[in-house]
């Protein structure tokens, strides 16, 4: 297969995946534009897409910068929450006592509505970056904990026995067997927790906002500046989609051996 042929083929396959949703999206946007104009709906209630795009291009740097803050807080929170979750999962995968101790408390964190926690965090930590990181961390904690624990335990029975039969230490079993076995679970968790961390950061910014897209949404809402509201939502959506694409690309490289990846490439 020549390089030209190869590029043609991969272009065609990308097109096959991108074209249908793109056509649908364009259709929805066109209908939206047309409908708002036809029914003469006020820009305060539903702005036409053209007004939203126009608002973005009036000051794109502003939106990217605020989005950057939110992404930064979400990422730090995600890293923090995931690290704690993974450390606990290691303990829980090795000890039933640890599981019985931590799991009920983890479930309490999971079922507590975050909107209720955010004001408390403001009182404790003030208006800085800390409460946002904590909310993002809390949201990403539970899925990571459960997936990591399952992953560390889901090791091939024979491979584990083999390692024990050659007197491998628990430490060696952990690094050579448990960690790679858990990778598919950790990637699955990450695809859920990164968007959750973004939500957490935005919600925290509503309550404690000094910057970020949450604040933009909050104040645009208060000022009935609906086009800005829509731009903020759009920037969040684009950020989420980009994260997902990047994660998928990394996943394909790291988990080349796993059936979830192999079944979609061949």
């Amino acid at each position: 297969m020549s390089i030209q042929e190869f590029t043609q083929r991969s272009l065609r396959s990308i097109l096959a995946y991108v074209a249908p949703p793109a056509v649908l999206l364009i259709g929805i946007v066109a209908f939206w534009e047309f409908y708002v104009d036809w029914r003469d709906i006020s820009i305060i209630v539903v702005p036409p897409p053209s007004a939203v795009v126009e608002r973005f291009f009036e000051n794109p740097d502003f939106f990217w910068k605020e989005g950057g803050y939110t992404l930064y807080e979400a990422t730090l929170g995600l890293m923090f929450g995931s690290s704690v979750a993974i450390a606990l999962a290691v303990l829980m995968a090795h000890s039933k006592l640890a599981e019985r101790t931590f799991l009920p408390l983890a479930i309490v964190i999971k079922v507590t509505p975050l909107v209720a926690i955010a004001p408390v965090l403001v009182i404790i930590f003030g208006f800085g970056t800390t409460p946002k990181i904590i909310v993002a961390a809390l949201l990403s904690f539970f899925p990571t904990l459960i997936n990591a624990m399952t992953g560390f335990r889901d090791v091939n029975e024979g491979a584990h026995s083999f390692l024990r039969s050659v007197h491998a230490s628990p430490w060696q079993v952990f690094w050579k067997l448990r960690v790679p076995s858990a990778m598919p679970y950790l990637f699955a968790a990450l695809k859920v927790t990164y968007p959750l961390a973004l939500i957490g950061a935005v919600v925290a910014e509503w309550f404690t906002g000094d910057r970020g897209l949450g604040l933009v949404i909050f104040s645009a809402n208060a000022n009935l500046d609906t086009p800005t509201l829509f731009v903020a939502i759009g920037v969040l959506a684009i950020t989420g989609v980009t994260i997902n694409i990047v994660l998928s690309v990394i996943e394909r490289r790291v988990l080349f051996w796993h059936e979830s990846v192999r079944s979609t490439t061949t």
Binding site: S161, S165, H167, A168, Q172, E259
Partner: protein, 264 residues
């Protein structure tokens, strides 16, 4: 105390699995002595504790009663000396590693100075006929090839004792028959200074047991007990033609009768 006349000594082994609610006796008073270099098969109905027996001999389980010794010492000691090579029914390779890295896995856990000579990777790959596949991943190989990787991995330390738990149970019949003779060829060639390796081989195939073994031990159904201990006095090297000869067929009839009686 060390009775090193036998390589593997299982004395009065009883094993009970107990999860707190139910208990299941897998083995009951099993005594088997295996001299060095002997190829011994253990055959019996499903659930008779064959795998448990092997795991006890390899030190992966501790018996509820009785003693399991390898070279006159607890099996943990043989594990530490890397004298045990395990092969399981499921090839249980690490899917993220290439063939070569799977075979080298046991060497990575080892920090001892080796006194015995270890086969190098190229030699092991050649031995199992996978030299051209060294950089492949397990999912690119057939079941039979994966099992050959598992065998090479078990041989990486050049252990004196091979414990094989229905290693060809998951491959198709034709591959299975080929693998059987390949294992014999490897066993006969890959002896090392200590003579041939001692092999404990669990199977539920009668013809496999006869083809491979110096001795076949028949276990009864749950809980497993030694029902018969039969020496297979066929000349070596064993050949496929031998499977049609009268002594072979007599052994097969004898073993089938024993297994059948037990099923009733």
């Amino acid at each position: 105390m060390a009775n090193t006349e036998y390589h593997v000594s299982l004395h009065d082994l009883t094993h009970v699995f107990d999860d707190g609610r139910r208990s299941l006796t897998a083995l009951s008073s099993v005594t088997i002595d295996v001299p060095p270099g002997q190829f011994t098969s253990v055959i019996g109905p499903s659930g008779c504790g064959k795998s448990t027996l092997l795991r006890l001999a390899g030190g992966l389980l501790t018996p509820s009663e009785g003693t399991a010794l390898v070279d006159g010492e607890p099996p943990r000691k043989a594990q530490r000396a890397r004298e045990i090579g395990f092969v399981f029914q499921d090839p249980s390779l690490l899917p993220w590693r290439t063939v070569a890295k799977n075979i080298a896995l046991p060497l990575e856990v080892d920090h001892l100075e080796r006194t015995r000579e270890l086969p190098d990777l190229a030699e092991l790959l050649d031995l199992v006929g996978l030299s051209e596949f060294r950089d492949y991943h397990p999912y690119e190989l057939s079941g039979g090839m994966q099992q050959r990787v598992a065998l090479a991995r078990a041989l990486a330390f050049n252990p004196t004792l091979l414990l094989m738990d229905e290693p060809f149970g998951a491959v198709d019949e034709i591959t299975r028959s080929a693998l059987r003779y390949e294992l014999l060829r490897i066993w006969e060639r890959h002896g090392g200074p200590a003579g041939r390796k001692t092999v404990l081989f669990v199977t539920h195939s009668v013809s496999e047991a006869i083809t491979l073994s110096d001795r076949v031990i028949v276990l009864s159904g749950r809980p497993g007990r030694v029902r018969a201990d039969i020496a297979i006095e066929l000349p070596r090297p064993r050949t496929e033609e031998m499977e049609q000869t009268e002594p072979f067929l007599d052994y097969a009839a004898q073993l089938r009768r024993l297994l059948k009686e037990d099923a009733q």
